[in-house]
């Protein structure tokens, strides 16, 4: 019985992953990340992703405050934030977030405040979406781990 549940959960997880890939939310980098997870670091992916969430939220906050500022002119700082966010996003394979970051950066390079604001909205939306989905994924995985004892998703 337990084994069956684990399989179902695993199928769910695969379906969810497939969906995320199909929508272009994640790319191969996430798979690579998963491959890095092994016995020596059983929670590697979730650890990294959590760091990512933490960092990104900070960065998003900073971006929003920068943009909300009335005498806003510090595009350079904004670009640094964006580069950071972009780097970490590509590291975990968050493709859509990264693409939005690229657009955001392009807008900031043109000192286009309206464009920046729009991009920020989209970015926040994408970020939330990604966060929700990944949370869901990890939840399933936790359930699966609980269900299957010590088994890890990808075979090495």
């Amino acid at each position: 019985m337990l084994g069956l549940g684990a399989d179902r959960l695993r199928a769910d997880m695969n379906r969810l992953l497939a969906f995320l890939f199909h929508q272009g939310i994640l790319d191969e980098q996430f798979l690579q990340l998963q491959q890095l997870q092994d016995e020596s670091s059983p929670n590697f992916v979730s650890e990294v992703v959590n760091i990512y969430f933490h960092e990104s939220e900070k960065l998003l906050r900073n971006l929003r405050s920068l943009l909300m500022d009335r005498e806003f002119s510090d595009y350079k700082k904004m670009r640094i934030h964006l580069n950071q966010l972009m780097g970490s996003s590509s590291s975990i394979g968050a493709k859509r977030v990264r693409n939005v970051c690229v657009a955001f950066r392009a807008a900031s390079e043109q000192n286009n405040r309206a464009g920046c604001l729009r991009a920020l909205e989209v970015l926040e939306h994408e970020y939330c979406f990604l966060k929700n989905k990944l949370h869901e994924l990890f939840q399933i995985e936790q359930q699966r781990v609980l269900a299957a004892g010590v088994r890890y998703p990808m075979q090495n």
Binding site: D7, N14, L17, A18, F21, H22, E28, Q29, L31, Q32, L33, L36, Q37, D38, S40, S41, F44, E47, V48, I51, Y52, H54, E55, I80, N83, Q84, M86, G87, S88, S90, S91, I92, G93, M154, Q155
Partner: protein, 1175 residues
């Protein structure tokens, strides 16, 4: 004439123009055929477009002007020469006239005596004749000159036209020569397009229509000028003709007048002489020596001297007082002249006349010439005219003329000349009274003017052409006609005055041409000629202009179309590239997910489905790649790589891919590589494989359930030397020797094939025996032979065209896009080779291609090659026997076994195999015989059983371990179901069944299994462990400001067993990496706040060099720095965007290499391997 210098100038001018023209042509007509040159030209044109445009126009106009100038100069020259001839003539004629006059005058002045006069007369007439002939000659000359000039003019025009035609031709040639210079520029499609657009715009700006209009205007002006010239010419020539006519008339008239005058004068002189004679012999003698008889005789005999007089008479001056005495003396009375009936003079006899009335004095005629004897005794004073005449004559002492009147007796107009006879010599200044006093008589002579003139005119030339009238114009208001009839006015009239020696009387001669002047044909001809020439030239130029305009129009249209076509081409390529790329991206997703799916726990069927989907996806990707290849080839961007590869294993791979399909169809598939082909060649394996796959794929597609597909590879050199072909397969290919009586052919499957050699007979590389061979290069000849449906003859010419198949129905039957052969052709051409084929419908096709490859080192690191390497030695030295009835097939098997080091004997049938076995029994050969391969075609269960027992016997004889060391028996089959195979195996007939196509890996696996010393293949996935071993226990510092990245990098590196430390900032890295430290490597992010990767690296390097300096100089001991003599920690940059510039920058700042973020295993391995492999 200055003609030669003129033409010299023309030549110079034309040369100059020719050069200019050349340049202009350069700009204008460059070929739209060659894209390279077009590109080059466009660049040039871009630079000098505006300048050259106007320049070009100007030059064209100049050419036109030159032509016009040429034509006009020619015309003018022609007329000048014509005029000069005419003036020459004009000059001549007055000259000759003057001369003539002089001679005449001289002659007449001298001719006091008659003979002289006569002689001169004859001379004159002679002269006349000679003149006449001279005139004729002159006019002939003139005509010749004229025609010569015409011819010259026409020639000139012709030369001009020809030159103007030639020059562009010459220019074109020159220009072509120039064009042929190599233009080494690579066309970049977009640039080209841009340039084309620019060019188009500029063309539009230059508006060639304006130029055309301008040219047309010029042409109209030219034609108008030509017409004006012709009119002027007509007028000019006509004037000339009229003038000449007038001159002729004047000349003739003057001539006649002078002659008339001279003759008259001669006669007058004679009459004068007669008067003196009378005075001397009649009055000076007593008695008189003259009576009527002597006078009459004398005058009669000297009448020839006075050809113009009709008669002479002498009248005595008789006063009234002396009348009676006189009458008595002569015996007749003085009679009165009857003026009233002068018309009937002849009838009136002297006797009938009345006696003269009483007057003061009388002048009765006493002597007279016989012709006028009827006037004897008539008183001359009684006639009014005569009386006046007599009075005037005796007063002046000179000859006096009457006005013309009808002569007595003659019904003619005439004048009477009267001389007075004096009784003494008078002083020339004597007064009229003295003269009257001295007068004793009067001598009169009547001149018959009409006959006089008539006679005169008859002696002159061309008396037919002119009409002469002579008038007495003493009374200017009423001239009296003395000669000639009234003629109608014919336009021209010349009047010459006549002087007959009587100052009171005035006479004139009026001359007219009899006919009206003829039409001036010459002028008409000349002007019409010029007009026609002008119109013709105009027409030619008009046609040329139209043509130019048309060509220009066409050219522009073509350029536009070309631009559009090229733009479309570029767009197509871009579209293809984009679309292919866009398709590939999601396809990669699909393939990735399928791969994942296959990794998941699936049952067999699900896995099969997934694999099928995966394979289809791969096929789709390869198709897309093909399309992309075509696009790339079309834009010339495809480049071949040069890597060493094993040709044989590559062919094995290709065959294994195709084997499924061929087995399904029951087609035999075989590959053969000549043993002279090196094991490893350098080239582009991917592209080579693509060509072979294409050809084999086509062959499979078009071969139906029978026959074979045979791929063979030879060196080109092998084919060249056809006389000593050692290779049996090639022999078979070259001379397909088969006797038609035996129904099978010596081919792989026994089906007939086309003559293979014909597919490569056109290759230059083969026929060219003298080509310098690059020793580093080898040329391969690959042939793919099949027994398919063949290609229809009419379709054979177009099968290499992209997207064209031999038959439009082909795609319906066999599928495919028809792109494969086109790509193959391009690829072969990129390999400096050629592709050709020969095909016969119903028999099959053979495709051949050549390609140049480099010779590879056998030890080249090629993974696939090495993979098989350890397996091969265990078969080395073994022997095998193949039983096959087809030698070619046996050769193919031999080739495969030779690769494993197994030597092969061939037996053509089971029986011969048995005899072979018995003959070799007991020898070492038999000891080494490890396997017997039997082809399916000769398979026979009984014989096999027989063979087995035979083997067993021999084995026991040879004391071999029967169970293990007996030769194994394999069956070679093309298409057999698994059931069949297992049945044969379990029945113990054979040890195993080998499925064709033979492949090295299959052979190895099969033999290993059969020979019992099979090992598990453990040669894959070494790399992971390699990377792990490389990085194991290495201390690595990761510098990245991004927490996530840091964590990921750490995780990745830890996975390979590295000990990883992380720092967040460049400054921290500096502290950590300050020597001495124990890090083996450092991964450094480039983009970091505060201190970026480059800066950090720079500082680390500078710190290291400082330490190294200290160490080198001995300032610091090695122990202080951890026993390391030279500090240099490998620093690898981590960067998200890997582009060349970044790479170079990395190296510039002292980094050792770079890896892209996120980590990729391969790249990481190759980067890290550099540093840790040696250590």
């Amino acid at each position: 004439m200055s003609c030669s210098s003129g033409t010299g100038n023309f030549v110079k001018l034309s040369r100059l123009l020719g050069e200019i023209h050349k340049m202009s042509m350069n700009g204008k007509l460059s070929g739209p055929n060659c894209r390279l040159s077009a590109n080059f030209r466009l660049k040039k044109a871009k630079e000098t477009m505006h300048g050259s445009n106007s320049f070009r126009k100007w030059k064209r106009n100049l050419l036109f002007l030159w032509l016009l100038g040429f034509v006009f100069t020619g015309i003018i020259w022609f007329f000048l020469s014509f005029n000069s001839v005419a003036s020459e003539r004009n000059e001549k004629s007055p000259d000759s006239c003057e001369e003539k006059a002089r001679i005449l005058l001289q002659n007449f002045n001298v001719s006091k005596n008659q003979f002289h006069a006569l002689a001169s007369f004859f001379y004159e007439s002679d002269q006349n004749i000679s003149q006449r002939s001279a005139l004729g000659v002159q006019s002939k000359d003139c005509c010749q000159n004229l025609s010569f000039c015409m011819v010259k003019g026409c020639l000139l025009l012709l030369v001009g036209v020809l030159l103007s035609c030639k020059i562009p031709g010459v220019c074109l040639k020159c220009w072509k020569n120039r064009k042929n210079e190599p233009v080494p520029l690579q066309p970049v499609a977009q640039q080209l397009q841009l340039l084309l657009q620019q060019k188009q715009q500029q063309q539009a700006q230059s508006s060639p229509k304006g130029a055309g209009k301008w040219r047309k205007k010029l042409l109209i002006v030219f034609v108008l000028l030509g017409m004006l010239t012709s009119f002027w010419l007509f007028w000019h020539l006509n004037q000339k003709i009229i003038l000449r006519r007038e001159e002729t008339l004047a000349n003739m008239c003057d001539e006649r007048a002078r002659m008339l005058q001279d003759q008259f004068n001669v006669s007058m002189n004679h009459v004068h002489a007669l008067a003196i004679l009378v005075s001397t012999f009649h009055h000076g003698k007593h008695p008189s020596a003259i009576n009527q008889k002597t006078f009459g005789e004398y005058t009669e005999r000297t009448a020839f001297e006075r050809p113009l007089t009709s008669g002479v008479a002498y009248a005595l001056k008789v006063l009234h007082s002396e009348r009676e005495q006189f009458e008595k003396q002569h015996g007749w009375t003085i009679k009165k002249m009857e003026t009233e009936d002068q018309t009937l003079v002849q009838d009136c006899l002297t006797e009938n006349l009345d006696p003269a009335p009483v007057k003061d004095e009388y002048a009765p005629v006493i002597f007279s010439q016989e012709t006028v004897s009827h006037i004897v005794s008539i008183d001359m004073m009684s006639g009014k005219e005569d009386r006046e005449n007599i009075l005037r004559a005796r007063a002046t002492g000179k000859g006096v003329l009457t006005s013309p009147f009808k002569l007595l007796k003659f019904n003619h107009l005439g004048v009477v000349l009267t001389f007075a006879v004096y009784n003494k010599d008078l002083h020339p200044d004597a007064t009229p009274e003295q003269r009257t006093e001295a007068t004793v008589g009067y001598l009169g002579a009547s001149y018959d003017v009409p006959s006089l003139v008539e006679k005169l005119l008859q002696q002159l030339a061309s008396n037919q052409t002119i009409v002469v009238n002579v008038y007495d114009t003493t009374n200017a208001s009423a001239p009296i006609s003395m000669y000639g009839t009234d003629v109608t006015d014919t336009g021209l009239l010349h009047v010459s005055s006549l002087d007959f020696g009587d100052p009171l009387r005035k006479h004139e001669m009026h001359c007219r041409f009899k006919q009206k002047p003829p039409l001036p044909w010459m002028a008409i001809n000349a002007s019409v000629g010029v007009l026609v020439i002008t119109l013709l030239v105009g027409h030619i130029f008009h046609a040329a202009i139209c043509r130019i305009a048309k060509v220009e129009n066409d050219y522009r249209e073509m350029m536009e179309l070309k631009a559009r076509a090229e733009a479309a081409d570029v767009a197509k390529s871009q579209f293809l590239a984009t679309v292919s790329h866009e398709i590939r991206t999601p396809m990669n997703g699909v393939l990735g997910m399928l791969k994942m799916l296959m990794d998941a726990d699936l049952d067999a069927i699900q896995r099969d489905y997934a694999e099928t989907a995966h394979n289809s996806g791969k096929d789709l990707i390869s198709l897309i790649n093909e399309v992309l290849d075509q696009a790339k080839i079309e834009s010339g961007r495809l480049e071949l790589e040069d890597v060493p590869f094993d040709l044989r294993s590559l062919l094995d791979n290709v065959l294994s891919l195709s084997s499924d399909k061929s087995n399904d169809k029951g087609i035999e598939l075989a590959v053969y590589v000549s043993n002279r082909v090196p094991e490893v060649v350098v080239g582009d394996p991917g592209r080579f494989r693509q060509i072979i796959t294409n050809l084999v794929g086509n062959s499979i597609k078009f071969t139906q359930d029978k026959g074979h597909i045979f791929v063979s590879v030879h060196l080109v050199d092998e084919v060249k030397g056809t006389f000593d072909v050692g290779d049996k397969v090639l022999q078979q290919g070259l001379n397909l020797v088969q006797d038609t009586s035996s129904k099978t052919y010596n081919t792989l499957s026994g089906f007939p094939v086309v003559e293979r050699w014909r597919s490569w007979e056109n290759f230059k590389i083969l026929n060219d025996k003298d080509t310098m061979e690059d020793p580093e290069k080898i040329k391969l000849l690959v042939t793919v032979e099949d027994t398919g449906v063949g290609i229809r003859l009419d379709a054979q010419s177009r099968i290499f065209t992209p997207f064209v198949q031999a038959d439009s129905s082909t795609s319906r039957h066999y599928g495919g896009t028809g792109i494969g052969l086109s790509i193959s052709k391009h690829l072969v051409e990129l390999m400096h080779g050629k592709i050709g084929f020969v095909s016969e419908p119903g028999i099959g096709s053979t495709f051949s291609f050549t390609g140049a490859f480099g010779k590879g080192e056998v030890s080249s690191p090629d993974a696939k090659w090495k993979q098989c390497d350890p397996v091969v030695p265990e078969f080395q030295g073994l022997r095998a026997l193949i039983i096959d009835n087809r030698s070619i097939r046996a050769e193919v098997t031999r080739y495969h076994l030779r690769r494993l080091g197994i030597s092969l004997d061939i037996a053509s049938s089971m029986e011969s195999a048995c005899t072979y076995l018995s003959s070799t029994c007991g020898t070492s050969e038999f000891a080494h015989l490890a396997m017997i391969l039997i082809d399916k075609d000769v398979w026979d269960q009984e014989t096999v059983l027989h063979l087995r027992t035979l083997l067993k016997e021999h084995g026991q004889n040879g004391r071999l371990d029967v169970s293990t060391n007996l030769p194994k028996i394999f069956l070679l089959g093309t298409s057999m179901s698994p059931v069949e195979r297992s049945k044969l195996k379990t029945a113990g007939f054979v040890d195993n069944v080998l499925m064709k196509p033979l492949r090295l890996s299959v052979l190895i696996a099969c033999f290993q299994e059969a020979l019992g010393n099979g090992r598990k293949d453990q040669v894959h996935r070494k790399k992971t462990s390699t990377l792990g071993s490389l990085l194991r226990e290495k201390r690595i510092l990761v510098v990245d400001d991004n927490k996530v990245n840091r964590r990921v990098a750490e995780g990745a590196l830890k996975k390979y067993g590295a000990i990883v430390s992380c720092v967040e900032r460049g400054q921290d890295a500096l502290d950590k990496l300050k020597p001495p430290h124990d890090f083996d490597a450092c991964f450094m992010d480039i983009q970091m706040p505060e201190m970026d990767g480059f800066e950090a690296t720079r500082q680390i390097r500078s710190a290291e060099t400082e330490v190294n300096k200290k160490l080198a100089s001995g300032e610091a001991s090695i122990e202080m720095y951890g026993n390391v003599s030279h500090w240099h920690v490998p620093i690898l940059a981590m960067t998200a965007d890997v582009i060349q510039a970044t790479n170079e920058e990395c190296l510039k700042f002292g980094m050792d290499d770079y890896v892209s973020k996120p980590f990729e295993e391969e790249q990481l391995y190759s980067a890290v391997a550099r540093f840790f492999e040696s250590g």
